[in-house]
């Protein structure tokens, strides 16, 4: 393009200088775009590595190596009136000993350490549940102890010097022997879901944590849902617009941004300290979580109430409904899908909250699931915290597995929320 001699000023757009400049400008544009792509790739890459690592370390905990042995209880010395009091340790050890003929006395310790130290209790409880087992030969499976579980899953490097691994050469020999005899298998680890916490990784499960989280979320829902909706209706439909309601408004927005650990302090000082409620119980956990979820529910409810067209309210009022009736019969039901969606998302957030539950003591070591809201228990996220802090190798995989379970619940809840939104939400 040649110089234009037209308006007041000539700009030689075709000059080399201008062309070079344009090139630089486009390069800068492209650079910005590339930075943006790098930023997104970084964030998504991190997400992928996070999920990948957790899956990779966690999937192993979904199976558990067990040793299977046969036991003829009809030959054992068991007093039928006192099954509990039989020498279960001796019985189980006897059965296990048969797996390795001519087991030297000197190796017994190492050999029995290969199996979970609670083996006798597992067998005993199974028999008590099903006394028919007493009458003949039955097969029993008990978990291998954590180091052997690691070995079975290929997590032990056999080339490292013996002193630096937790399985001895002797134990590896025994393991190979048992393995060759087909006594070792790796079934799905139902214990992960049906056992409670334990000091031994091979026995530790999430049953207590899952039911603790369930009770806490139930309390959280029962408190925050009605109170949140009532508060939202009041603020949106009834409250006079004055300084005081402005204050409530600001206050709700700020509460939503208060650090969760501060809510924990509140729970500790007020619910435990002043009201004297017991420590570690889902009731208190749920109450703290309810206070944290409340702002979310109020904000969502208000937004969905305002989105209902005023024609509907006018129609209801026009046929003689009271204001309260118009709201409860028409506007609230129409807003319900959105409110439910928001509530589920709020509960999903509450399910992942950890810090406040730590402060009110829901990180205790508790080996049975809570039967109600007033029994001490852990919750899923605090259980993850406890396991993450445990030194045993087996807990690394268990922690990742617990995280996968937690993420599974979160995905489920969000999926329900999305489903509700797409299925029922109205667009006005």
């Amino acid at each position: 393009m040649t110089a234009v001699t037209f308006p007041a000023v000539v700009i030689n757009w075709g000059s080399d200088e201008m062309a070079a400049r344009r090139k630089r400008r486009y390069a800068a544009d492209r650079r910005l775009q590339i930075y943006g792509m790098i930023a997104i790739a970084f964030a998504l890459g991190f997400l992928a590595i996070l999920i990948g690592t957790l899956t990779f370390t966690g999937y192993r905990a979904f199976t558990q190596s067990v040793v299977t042995f046969e036991l003829d209880l009809s030959k054992a010395e068991i007093d039928r009136s006192d099954v509990m009091g039989a020498d279960w340790r001796g019985i189980v050890r006897g059965a296990l000993r048969e797996k390795v003929p001519e087991l030297p006395r000197s190796s017994e310790r190492a050999y029995f350490a290969m199996f979970t130290s609670s083996a006798q209790f597992l067998v005993r409880d199974q028999v008590i549940r099903n006394p028919a087992l007493l009458d003949g030969v039955a097969r029993f499976s008990v978990p291998l102890s954590d180091p052997l579980d690691q070995l079975a899953k290929g997590q032990v490097d056999r080339d490292t010097p013996e002193s630096q691994r937790r399985v001895t050469d002797r134990q590896i020999e025994f393991y190979e022997q048992l393995s060759a005899a087909g006594a070792i298998s790796k079934p799905f680890n139902w214990g992960l879901f049906f056992n409670s916490d334990s000091r031994f990784p091979e026995l530790a499960g999430l049953a207590g944590a899952i039911s603790g989280s369930f009770w806490a979320l139930l309390v959280c829902f029962l408190i925050s849902f009605p109170i949140g909706i009532a508060a939202a209706i009041y603020l949106e439909e009834f409250a006079p617009k004055n300084r005081f309601t402005d204050l409530i408004e600001i206050n709700i927005n700020n509460l939503a941004a208060v650090p969760s650990v501060v809510f924990g302090l509140l729970g500790l000082a007020v619910f435990l300290g002043w009201f004297g409620l017991p420590r570690s119980v889902p009731l208190v956990g749920g109450m703290v979580l309810a206070l944290m979820t409340l702002p979310t529910i109020i904000i969502v409810t208000r937004a969905s109430l305002t989105s209902v067209p005023s024609s509907i309210r006018e129609a209801a009022l026009g046929i003689g409904a009271s204001k309260t009736e118009a709201i409860f019969h028409h506007i609230l039901p129409l807003s319900m899908p959105t409110i439910m969606t928001g509530t589920i998302i709020g509960l999903a957030q509450a399910l992942g909250e950890t810090a406040p539950l730590l402060l009110i003591g829901m990180n205790a070591f508790i080996t049975s699931p809570p039967a109600g809201v007033l029994e001490a228990s852990t919750a899923l996220p605090t259980q993850i915290y406890i396991w993450a802090d445990s030194p045993e190798r087996g807990f690394v995989a268990r922690t990742s597995a617990a995280i996968l379970v937690l993420l599974g619940f979160l995905i489920l809840m969000n999926a329900i929320a999305i489903f509700l939104r797409q299925r029922f939400e109205r667009r006005w």
Binding site: F6, A8, V9, I11, W13, M18, R21
Partner: protein, 271 residues
């Protein structure tokens, strides 16, 4: 080499000849927004250094046509432009053409004044800066001053160049936007209903300005007001439902239109 040179302002054309140079030419211009066709084979020549007014009922495609002329439609994802548009005989949709340069040569002023939330000075200096039209602060100051002068805004803002452009009145904001467009020395200025958001006094000022600018720039103005078209333009093009109905000298269009629809529109039967 100098990028920027003051040259004598001298009309190249013989004022006696009726036919002036054709600055821009649209041939069979069609535009689709997604499935919807907004322009149907529009053929229109834009004479150099004259004011061409585009009139027609709203939604008939005036803005759409205008935005084809500096490829602003490129910024709308759903828009597809067909046909052929030239600037000084060069196809502006040619892949070789650089839209950055094109838009500097074909400036645009919008319906609603849209100064950047920056100072008055920065608003005007923005264009010369990004295109690198000046080499130092003094030159930039000069460009800002002359642009504001050409936009008839200098006397009103010269003492508050550092104040925000959004603090000006509507009419001043629109003249600021015109100054901003002038500052990159465009050859063509597109104006999309530049006065529709302004009060009558501000409108009169802008109209006056358009008349002055005609000496140096080719101007295409979309307007809703028949009187405005009659006042400021030399040529008028009438659009209807995406079609160019009629175009010609403004005097003739307003006194003796060929097309019935033009007549109806001008006399206010629809619009």
């Amino acid at each position: 080499m100098n990028v920027l040179t003051e040259v004598a302002v001298e009309k190249k054309l013989n004022p006696m000849t009726k036919e002036s140079n054709i600055k821009m030419r649209g041939k069979d211009v069609t535009v689709h927004y997604g499935e919807k066709q907004a322009l149907f084979a529009v053929n229109l020549d834009i004479p150099e250094r004259q004011v061409t007014a585009l009139i027609g009922p709203s939604g008939c495609g005036k803005s759409t046509f205008l935005r084809c002329l500096n490829r602003m439609n490129d910024t709308i994802d759903s828009a597809r432009v067909g046909g052929n548009i030239t600037l000084d005989g060069e196809d502006i949709y040619d892949p070789k053409i650089d839209v950055v340069e094109l838009r500097a040569r074909v400036g645009m002023v919008f319906q609603k004044p849209n100064p950047f939330p920056k100072s008055i000075y920065e608003n005007v200096a923005y264009g010369p800066r990004i295109h690198g039209l000046t080499r130092n602060k003094a030159e930039l100051d000069e460009v800002v001053e002359s642009s504001l002068k050409k936009a008839a805004l200098w006397s009103e803002v010269k003492d508050r160049l550092q104040e925000s452009g959004t603090g000006l009145s509507g009419g001043q904001q629109q003249r600021l936007c015109i100054a901003r467009a002038i500052a990159v020395s465009p050859e063509v200025i597109l104006m999309d209903e530049p006065c529709s958001a302004l009060d009558p006094i501000a409108t009169a000022k802008v109209e006056e300005l358009i008349d002055e600018l005609r000496a140096n720039y080719t101007i295409i103005i979309v307007t809703h007001s028949m009187q405005q078209a009659a006042r400021v333009s030399q040529r008028t093009a009438m659009f209807h439902l995406g079609y160019l109905v009629e175009e010609g000298a403004t005097d003739k269009m307003f006194t003796n239109p060929d097309d019935k629809r033009t007549q109806d529109y001008i006399t206010g039967r629809f619009g």
